[in-house]
Amino acid sequence: MTTLTKASETSAARENPARRRRRVDRLPYLLLLPCLVVICVLLLWPLGQVVAMSFFRLNNVRQLRGDREWPWVGFGNYAEILGDPFFLTVLRNTVLFAVANVALTMILGTLVGLLLNRLGKRMATFVASCVMLAWATPALTGTIVWKWMFDDTSGLVTWMFNALPDGLSNALFGRADWTGYGWFNSPLLFFSILTLVVVWHSFPFIAVSVLAGLKSVPSELHEAARVDGASSWKVFWRITFPLLRPVFGILVVLSTIWDFKVFTQQFVLAGGTQDRPTFMLSIYSYAEAFSPPPKYGLGAAVAVILTLILLLVTGLYVRMVLKQEEES
């Protein structure tokens, strides 16, 4: 503000100082206006709307268009969801999946970050480029390729299991012929493959962020600790981790938010919304609302529950970012 006011005072302010000052005060708000309108109309209003919708019985698209009235059901939708034992399955799936994926992503990402920091320059560039490739791949294509690798007749994974010596394969898994094996049939296997796909997609971000953090730590600290005979394990927990604690905090929160609402990968891997035993909150909400018969109100209530869970995590995230902005 000072720049523009001071600078233009020479010409404009002399003519009409009062008018000039008012314009300076308004300009930033004018510039913000389009952005605020977009955020309010396309993000905040729908967020309020989803809460409102969760209190009505909406089972017909004509109700949405406004042709028919909306019967108020109060907390009826919530009662229906929470009273359904299936909701517990969905909630358990969501939480277990998020916990497992955040843990695996963080561990793998951190290890790769540490590794990149210690590799020679050429090797580090090569590995980092490959890691970037996984990150850059759209979720949709990544999932399709993994699905192809798990194809039950010509998929690479099926071939690899077939290539195991029959005796070993029998002893370990109780079968030697894997052709036609239903990789996606049991929920546990489905979630394992989904985890593989999601971790493959998300560890690069963690690795690159950890690496960026490591580069900012003075290397003398590590060298001094090593000279004193500390093991790598000790160096990490005693020096690296405490210094990078804020980075790790934010990464865990971001990963948690992302892994709680995985949709595309699951939708593509399961081939739609038919596989109910593997439902998680986001796909459950979608299926309630959009697979026939539509139940928009019920779907909205599930979406609200998902949002409330994420709100808790987000509160944590915002507090961390603000603290860091203050510190730096």
Binding site: L36, L47, L140, D151, V304
Partner: protein, 282 residues
Amino acid sequence: MKRGTMVRRVALNGAGLLVALFAAFPVYWMIATSLKPNREIFSATPRPVPAHPTLEHYREILTGNLIPGVTFADFFLNSLLVAVSTVVLSGLVALLAATAVARFRFKLRTSFLIMLLVVQMIPLEALVIPLFLMIQRLGLYNTLPSLILTYLGFSLPFAVWMLRGFVAAVPKELEEAAAIDGASRFQTFRRILFPLVAPGLVATSIFSFITAWNELIFALTFINDQDRYTLPVAMTFFFGRDDTAWGPVMAASTLFALPVIIFFLLVQRRMVSGLVAGAVKG
């Protein structure tokens, strides 16, 4: 001691190669499969490298009709139209807002920044239902503008957050000098600030582009007519059939992913700094 370091180096490099293989292999396999003739794709022993590389699958998806009268090019154009419109709108609005935040100190500045952060955390998956309602009410159901509008909302918060750094990085003295020389505010903006922020605007645009280009759920829900499908929707449709033709699917996936991968690699550095917002220094 010397032997110890040798062993350690070999172990480190070995681990590096394993990580590289895990990360890059699926992308390689997608491209390799797309170039194999069918008898190699469906053979009992997969070949790591196509023995008889062919472009037949690309020819098939580019010339054949996926649905009567609709080709891959139509889906590609739908996606492109949606993504480019999103980029232009979101870039324009974000630039104005970023200028306000980076160049002015005003009362609600901090509140606005906090709101930007919070809004980015709204689970978009939870907005499918209310936005579906809005699109129905506006009469935009089954039109591409419904998607442009939706993606504008999704990409804007991150775009403002990222651009504000670029605007703040332009030295204020340049604008002061221009103002002293008698340039109007608009002229200062257009002649000084805009050219200097342009690279940042490009980087930001790429992120908006990727957001719009990759999105599946909303496109799946808001579009009904098959000739208006965007690429991701067309691919799930194409792919959801019983006997999966992996050759054409991999060729389509490659064509879909390639622009994103190239763009992404150009700007990934900004991504980290944008997301970790101040946590990572250096």
